[in-house]
Symmetry: none
Subunit: 367 residues, 2 copies
DNA sequence: TTCCGAATTGAATCTGTTG
DNA sequence: GCAACAGATTCAATTCGGA
């Protein structure tokens, strides 16, 4: 076990190689604001699975997902959660993600240890793997649990208005529709194979960190893998500590995070008060990486320019608000359809942001 | 405790008033096909919970009693689940619905008792109650767990094709979007207040029963409430046994169910899978003269050719065997469905031999 | 270069009957 | 109980290759 990467200064990025329990016990107590944990799911797969076209499904058969029994898994869970609890500030919170194989044990253990559940959140996958044999319902979601350190903890971070802004000025619900991690975001090893079997999408972490941390907070991920938590934390100006046992994952994570740029502080500010109404969640574009925080939008004639912030609000000179509100403001009008007014540059051409919305709609299928 | 309503004949509708554990223990073992359970999680409303030693549990909403209350709840859960397990047929299954307050304990207990999870299913509420104080995500879903009696249980009911038909010919996913129970469906008492605080929508039970029971099966609901399970079971031609402690809920349930009419048998038929159809050996086609010995079969691209022999085996170059074996062999695969792979020429066109099988099935159906 | 069809792939507790 | 074998079974998104 050893510290791999540590940077002093305004942004701490720490990756520790080793067992997560030992590593957490070596950290100062009550030192982190949020823990995001993606522990092994304890899948119990039978023989090989083939698709109808007889191709083979690449199973998660790694050693780190092998447990002898529920009892052994529960003990593992209690141990890492106790270590996590120690390093968590009293005002801190924890997120754990899992599937039906493990999430009920995870949830019960959280409660047993005194964590207090705020929500269970369902990640609905827009493109899950089908059930090839027609034996069950398509396993189309995973479950996240968000819990504070204790029941009597009244202070915790929840950026309610930022979530609302991200969701078209409707309260963010407990079910989130997001695609799984594929395409360019999916990290590959030298052979072109996936670098990690269970890489999570950045959009998921974006929402988690935006909702329950503030810029400058420290996020701990005890099952760091290829570093999605670190990548999004850096992008959003949060400090992070990642712990990972496998050197090969750390290597990938370091290179990945090296290339990430932190958004400018003014872009990372999130809405703290009510804003004008919007119809389509513009924030989804940022969450999904179609626009970066800090991206510049202009009108077709380039008379006005605005900067995009992480929660989907935009800034033009002194004014902050939705794409519609700011669009109306700069034109001196009462109303404006921001989707067609604001443009972004791609391939040297200005295009309305509405084409990005269409892209998202196409990807997400139903509303 | 007493039996309130029992009807002999083709459709059994039984409502039992009393404690669900005692009542289940009084039923014959291995007698029900499906259990649907909506257990209480608010221990105060659950009322009359007792510890194993029969001592009364007092108010459990104080922080100091959180751990004690989880233990008591787990004990309660183990007790009713064990009783449920006893009355369940070996081919039977159980559904349990809950929210984050109790579902993790319920799920872990199911696993501890040997039930085998098939899916966790998310009921997404299209019209959830908002979070008025803006302190959390809108609690917009509940979780259902579908589990069979044991891991090595190979036979269970899942009407895959019926679910697929219900979902526009796409596999039914594990997330279901349904409205909460309101309007005319919501039962009221004499004062116009809701008769039961957590009445479930019939649409939810409709999907559960259609997916995992057949007409004529017996469904048990140990927390019957105002009888949604019974109402839908009757509508769909399933027998049911409902157990409920409170007389006032039973009264409402009886009147409700009395008004329900069972659908006509032909309307209750659902789309079935090919697996359920009669098996036709390939040799039958030759026997019946639909293919002559010596007939030539090819794949759609005409890359491979095989000759049919009198006993239903086929020959391709040196290899002899079943249509499936040879189909797999020539493609270099482990398996192949010979019915759809091999084609024969008729009217100058290539057609899969599967249409001949369909012809035989149609003829057998008439006979 | 662009467009269209084919191929690939993702945290999966993934068959049933006969001999 | 195990081996052999029949034969049923997939959605969304991206990438690749040929026209």
């Amino acid at each position: 076990m050893g510290r791999v990467n540590s940077k002093a200064g305004q942004s701490a990025e720490i990756i520790i190689q080793g067992d997560c329990i030992e590593a957490m016990n070596a950290l100062p107590e009550k030192s982190v604001d949020l823990i995001f944990a993606d522990p092994p799911y304890n899948l119990q797969l039978g023989g090989g699975l083939t698709r109808p076209d007889q191709s083979k499904v690449d199973a998660v058969d790694d050693d780190w997902d092998k447990f002898a029994s529920f009892q052994v898994y529960d003990e593992f869970t209690r141990n890492w959660m106790n270590a996590a609890r120690r390093v968590l500030k009293d005002t801190g919170a924890i997120w754990v993600i899992g599937s039906y194989h493990n999430i009920f044990r995870v949830g019960a253990t959280l409660q047993d240890l005194g964590f207090w559940m705020m929500n269970d959140v369902v990640w609905r996958k827009s493109n899950p793997m089908p059930n090839f044999r027609g034996t069950r319902f398509t396993n189309a979601h995973e479950t996240l649990i968000w819990a504070t350190k204790s029941a009597d903890q009244k202070k915790y971070t929840f950026n309610y208005d930022a979530m609302k802004a991200l969701n078209d000025d409707l309260q963010m619900r407990s079910d989130w529709l997001l695609p799984i991690c594929t395409g360019g975001e999916r990290l590959k090893d030298g052979d072109g194979d996936k670098a990690h079997p269970t890489q999570k999408p950045e959009a998921l972490l974006h929402r988690v960190l935006l909702a329950t941390t503030n810029a400058g907070d420290t996020v701990l991920d005890p099952f760091f893998g290829t570093g999605t938590t670190g990548a999004v934390a850096k992008k959003l100006g949060r400090n992070f500590v990642g712990i990972e046992r496998e050197e090969r994952y750390i290597k990938v994570a370091r290179e990945r995070i090296r290339l990430i740029k932190t958004g400018a502080p003014e872009d990372l500010k999130v809405t703290t008060s009510k804003k004008a109404e919007v119809r389509i969640p513009f924030g989804t574009l940022i969450e999904r990486g179609l626009l970066e925080p800090g991206a510049v939008l202009t009108d077709p004639a380039k008379r006005h320019a605005a900067r995009v912030r992480a929660d989907g609000s935009i800034v033009c000179r002194d004014a902050t608000g939705s794409i519609h509100k700011i669009g109306a403001h700069v034109q001196g009008l009462d109303a404006c359809n921001g989707w067609t007014f604001w443009h972004f540059k791609t391939d040297g051409k200005l295009k309305p942001i509405d084409i990005l919305r269409q892209k998202v709609r196409a990807e997400m299928g139903e509303a």
